[in-house]
Assembly symmetry: C2
Homo-oligomer: 146 residues x 2
């Protein structure tokens, strides 16, 4: 590929390989998720809300490395689509607890199936054991201290 270019040096770098793989996987994810009208970040937010009913904006920001001002519009948008509901937080008057609506839960049931489908397709060249190994090594990279 790339004409007769020598790309061996870049291909020896972990960052280059990881970024290219991420872009490939995410591009496929975006294609398949388009019918649900969900970007990766929308999916992540809705998924975390679904699996953690009552979660706050602040917790979403911490878990997904989103800055609070940038979450405002996103939440406004998925609330307008009636996918989430904001309720007063039981103990903290400043915060709002987020939950999926029935419509949001139904959408996410489909979307999570689509995500699994996208993963299987992206990893089609890998055996199940290789997928498991890849996942384990990636987590080792981003979960290790330093």
């Amino acid at each position: 590929m790339n004409d007769g270019l020598d790309t061996r040096y870049l291909e020896s770098l972990l960052g280059y390989n990881t970024r290219r793989a991420a872009l490939t996987i995410i591009a496929r994810f975006m294609e398949r998720m388009a019918p649900h009208d969900l970007r990766p970040v929308d999916f992540s937010v809705l998924s975390l809300i679904g699996h953690n009913p009552g979660i706050t904006s602040r917790q979403l920001c911490a878990a997904l490395s989103i800055l609070p001002p940038n979450l405002v519009g996103l939440l406004k948008s998925i609330e307008k689509r009636e996918l989430i509901r904001r309720s007063p937080h039981p103990t903290d008057g400043r915060a709002m607890g987020l939950t999926l609506t029935a419509k949001g839960a139904a959408l996410m049931q489909q979307a999570e199936a689509t995500a699994l489908d996208s993963d299987l397709s992206a990893a089609a060249a890998l055996t199940p054991a290789e997928v498991k190994t890849l996942t384990r090594l990636l987590q080792k990279v981003y979960l290790s201290p330093t």
Copy 2:
């Protein structure tokens, strides 16, 4: 981490894990490369020019998935820093052949050492065999057809 949040579902997705690992590795790369005043994309462009003297803008764009209009400013900037030189292309009057200047080559010798250093640090939790496996699996993901 993340308070008592349930993030198990997201952590089961290949895209989520790959993206988080890429962001971790790239953040470290940026920190270490800052003294050279090079962003990842600057490093990639200079590295490809160094390993492929006479390469054209068009080839850089194809290899790195950069759109031509977005490469213009980057090249202008590293040319102003006297890291590259543009010479008329030997056979195509429309194109320019790009090469590193002596200053650019000297900087890249240091920068490639820094990149290797950054990689080793990012993969500190992995054995050399695991790094090799991780690289192989990542390339399998982004090089496989479909």
